[in-house]
Symmetry: D2
Subunit: 405 residues, 4 copies
């Protein structure tokens, strides 16, 4: 960036001369250091690679089309940011995988990096506004030169989906083929590798299963919650039964019955497993309990940061889905829907991916269905309070935050 003094080391010790007079403008008080050796801006950023990588196919083929340059730069900017997202994602996954997450000091890092991914996706959603300055007619002029390149071939985006946790069996096929068939050997292997690794979803699941307070021999949140809810519903039922007969009474009773069914389903582990098998739920039964516990006791000191994490995970899901939807909108504008005429299925394929099937943390959204009045939430006794006020650290000899960075 222009004049960015970020790069200037401050506590290192080789400034040469103090400003000569006091009156000199503070804006001129610095010292040029570029002549002293060391790395300079353009080399640091490898701009010889980055800003020379724009080769127009239309130009190669003898018909240079101005707007192809924008098309290339926009996609490169997307890929640059995908690289950054993958970098953050891998570092967060590493904290979970290594067990460093058990030292709660590392939660700040986890949260900060997940939040950074949120901020990048927010930018990427807005970035479509730039490409939308190209009209369908401008695009038509160079489209033919691009085949068979396709954004579907973005390796980084597929890696990203896998590492977050889009499951293979929920993917919409692409022209009746498995998504991986669009990639070459080396890339295909990278994709297989990520399918075998634990995605963020699984790592968060394991972490949620360890939520303090779930222990059956301890606070036993789940059992207490079940009791409170059905006690509450029974009380409601008694109240309703005392009402004089009326259409309103019937309606309220019908609603009560529905509520009871809803909550009965919540405490039915078999039903949960059935929903998981259909892909409608993604988290284990225990993890779901952990998430709901964090929701209800989010103000407890130990749960404040975990609650923010769950919120940020929903943000990522929402932004990825908005990104997909904005993508669909742009494609509609650029190539139309071609409804009924056959040919490429681009618009319809993309539209089918704007779906809850691609929402990795869909359970965190759907838990909103199971909220209850505050007075139904099990009270914390002093013992529980104590552990919800006291963070966990690993053994003191290891008691250091994540090392490598």
């Amino acid at each position: 960036m222009s004049g960015c003094p970020y790069f200037e080391k401050r506590h290192l010790l080789f400034k040469n001369k103090p400003p000569k007079t006091e009156e000199e403008d503070a804006s001129q008080a610095g010292v040029n250091k570029a002549s002293k050796g060391g790395i300079i801006y353009g080399d640091y950023l490898q701009l010889d690679k980055v800003v020379t990588a724009q080769v127009l196919q239309s130009e190669l083929k003898g018909n240079k089309i101005h707007d192809e340059h924008l098309f290339i730069v926009t996609h490169q900017a997307y890929e640059l940011w995908f690289k950054q997202i993958l970098f953050e994602l891998d570092s967060v996954r590493e904290i979970f995988i290594s067990g460093h997450v058990r030292d709660e000091r590392n939660m700040l890092k986890v949260n900060t990096r997940i939040h950074r991914i949120v901020m990048i996706f927010r930018l990427l959603v807005d970035q479509f506004a730039v490409l939308e300055t190209m009209t369908a007619l401008d695009f038509f002029d160079f489209r033919e030169y691009l085949a068979p390149a396709s954004g579907f071939q973005s390796l980084q985006f597929r890696l990203l989906e896998n590492k977050i946790g889009v499951p293979d069996n929920q993917r919409v096929p692409y022209n009746r083929r498995h998504y991986r068939d669009n990639f070459k050997g080396h890339e295909s292997e990278m994709l297989i590798a990520t399918e075998k690794e634990a995605p963020l979803l699984k790592l968060v699941e394991e972490w949620l299963e360890r939520t303090p307070g779930l222990e059956a021999d301890g606070f036993n949140f789940w059992e207490k919650l079940e009791i409170n809810i059905f006690d509450g519903l029974n009380l409601e039922k008694e109240k309703i039964e005392k009402m004089a007969d009326s259409e309103e009474k019937e309606e309220i009773m019908a609603e009560l019955i529905k509520q009871r069914e809803l909550f009965t389903s919540l405490f039915d582990e078999k039903r949960h497993d059935h929903l998981v098998s259909k892909g409608e739920r993604r988290l284990s039964y225990k993890a779901l309990q952990g998430a709901l516990m964090i929701y209800f006791y989010r103000e407890e000191p130990r749960f404040q940061v975990p609650f923010q994490l769950l919120t940020s995970l929903m943000d990522i899901d929402t932004l990825m889905t908005k990104w997909r939807y904005n993508h669909v909108c742009m494609v509609h504008r650029m190539i139309g829907s071609k409804a009924g005429t056959g040919g490429s299925s681009g618009y319809h394929y993309l539209r089918s991916t704007v779906s809850d099937r691609y929402k990795v943390f869909v359970d965190l959204f759907n838990l909103a269905t199971f909220l209850v009045p505050r007075h139904w939430v099990p009270k914390l006794n002093p013992n529980v309070h104590t552990f919800l006020y006291t963070a966990e650290c690993c053994d003191s000899s290891y008691c250091s935050s994540e090392d490598s960075d």
Copy 2:
């Protein structure tokens, strides 16, 4: 982008098979073409260069700091977009330099590309939000490894300033040295070259000087306007003089005198030249007249698109200045102001560039001072109407819009 069907050529003729049955999901109706040869996504975008150019200095020096990756990617994204802005800017300048702008069909291209620059700058202003997820403490951990690299060394940003028209004599010096002294031989020559070329400001100036309606032997806008304004002011004066004496009358009269002085200055060419010599005005006297004429008659068909162009030029100025200001805000957060303690002057240097000195099209803003009531604007007679309704095209044998793209 994921699944982006942009790349698929549609009117070329090598799809292989129609979908087998009607019931097949429209989303699966396409055909994979990647196996047929031709360029693929990653090669097209040269991702082997773009997403491998992130080398952390901290890692090289044995102390890998996580956040340096974000720092690199953010700056590379800025440079990618600077490349795009330069590309658009050069194409617009070429239309002006080649005279193609005289064929008014090319105004659509000019406007679209200038507007695209506006949209890119809007993104760049927002992009700071991503870098701001890095705290001062995170930055401190790797800052020392970067010296003496400095954002001041961004060649593309300096080229951009020169090509738009930041004049050398308005630049704030950097540590008491000429801005060009921070660049190596080859780069310095590129900068000198752009200082010698006509910047956008000059090209727009020449175009404004040709505004139809300025001709002394034609509509003679400027003289007519002067007459109308002073007639108007005289009428006001007579009205005021008829008022009974009062404090209010005195005030109104004083205000009238100020107005008269203001407008007297507008029609004083010598004063204009004096302001130009001080850098307070940048456009020639004739160009200023053209701009005001376009302002007043912006609804005339021939002036609608030119008026949009003037608006977009102000947008660019405003966004560049917002970019500078956002930059200052971030630097303040990252390294503090170090007020009174000496050392680097980064914050103060940057702050001094958030100034009207760096507003290239400052005259277009300041013309707002010289607006007048609609009934003071000279009426158009039918002849003038005719030419303001009829666009100019060059000789029919050349009557084609810009060729090369």
Copy 3:
């Protein structure tokens, strides 16, 4: 706004005293006028009404919930901006209805106001980020107090849809009832009135039908285009037939046949009418021709501004659909999907409105299917050039742009 000097009249004549000395800071050179009578800021904006209209139902019912305030203010901000959009929309429709649009000077106004609607919708899409700072749990605490109020009851949003041109028969029913049944008598009548008025879609349609160059006894664009396209396709066919037999040849031929079918459908008026009857197309056959003509000759001076208008209309459609989608995303977060449990259908209802059925200018998008290489576009002869360079004005005695504003 703070210190906003917008309000200060400048060319009126009652400033009292000039600054005493030159050295005085320019920032203090103004004069306070508030004491002189006239309207002041708070009264002008009727803040006594606007910022006192936040009454929390939860507070009225004895259980004040903090976040309800945000909920109210956000919705009020949406309604304020809907009011502004309706105001702009009505003014544009009036220009079309009154015939002022035939004086091409009024196109600047039309374009500016449509563009303003675009900018407002862009803000409204972003505005969800504020409401998303409220979590599902915060919302749950006051949700019960709001029944049966529902955003579905937003009169202004329905008026807006009607005035743009969402057709009654394309609307998704709401709980199996007609959308209008959710409104009270007075409001229902307002809705019926807007259904009877010409929406923006119809007005744009009429305007497109008048596109110069469509006249059968003039340039006759449509017939010329048909001839060129089929000549072009025949040439392609001959070229293919000369190829040696191969799988590739077969594929290319199959693709050619598909292209021919596609374009045959374009010139088939009966098929067009059939698609209109199904709601898949919305514009008349003639208007579609006008739109395609503007697309192909967008650089001609008379078509530059119309082309921008068509682009802005697509922007509005896209942004409304993004608004709907963002809305769905937020609702999912706030109340879950309640899949399979019955009860409110909010999420599913809203999701069903994110559909091309609600895209009013869907034809402008789908025209992208019918683009052709530049050399297939009929050449303009000098006569046509002349009228595409000369704007239309109404009779000179009326030759004034729209009066009152």
Copy 4:
């Protein structure tokens, strides 16, 4: 919002009938409740007040100018959001004033609400893009009708500044008068009241002074830090002295001396008080220590949320200053700078408020000057670890989070 099902109560019990058949579209499964009584959307939001408060002065004066409507709505939207910011700010201040903040469970609320203010300001900064669709010429047409109303008279904005903590003695005077003189009696009293109350700055200061670890008889952070820093600097000095004489050695030594001066100043309480008296620092010496301690140990569980709070406070400062700067940019466009011509000082007044004088939490930024390498930061012993892992709650009988909301 359209179709927003937020309002629908779910756990209340009066839905009437289940959907008849399974096949029925889930989107139609809800039940209309508006006919059952209770509040409806328009009444809830008091739209009869909010969307009828747009009275154009130009229309009252017989010369309706279209763009005045946008001007009014934009300002009303700003004031609506100012109301919301004040509401959040007051609730946060109340948590601090009442001492509830000592129960660390309330930190989630504090953080969430401060973050909400950040998100609102982000929207307000973007909102200028809408008003910028009005040109200087459009504004000129109705400007005269507004006098003497001025944005300077926005009571809510002044209240906001006072409640955050813009000190009276740092304010730029307005036309040589005290800012409060622009307000009427009742409003002026409200402003005086807020000047007497503790602003957010003071409340945060008191809270920072209580940072655990500052106790002289405990961990004694400040003394430990001072020792470490000067030990570190001495070690550096010894290393340098061993170098062979050279220009480089001289430079490094000069830099070291500057560093020592810098840190000497940090531990000089008198110098701190002097800077406070000049307004260059705003926090007490103890609070500054607390902030630096939170910076250095931000990963400790008890400091993670406080660190986020400090970051959000800087966000508010930065966004308010960006808002001011965007405001300046717009004013420049609307009325020019009128440099040298006298008259209103609007532009120059506003420009002077874009200053660090108006940055309330300027100390949090400037602390970036005093960062040190990680190994200079005092190590935590197990005792300190314990209290930095254990949150504070008040006595169990009061151990409840803030009641009323």
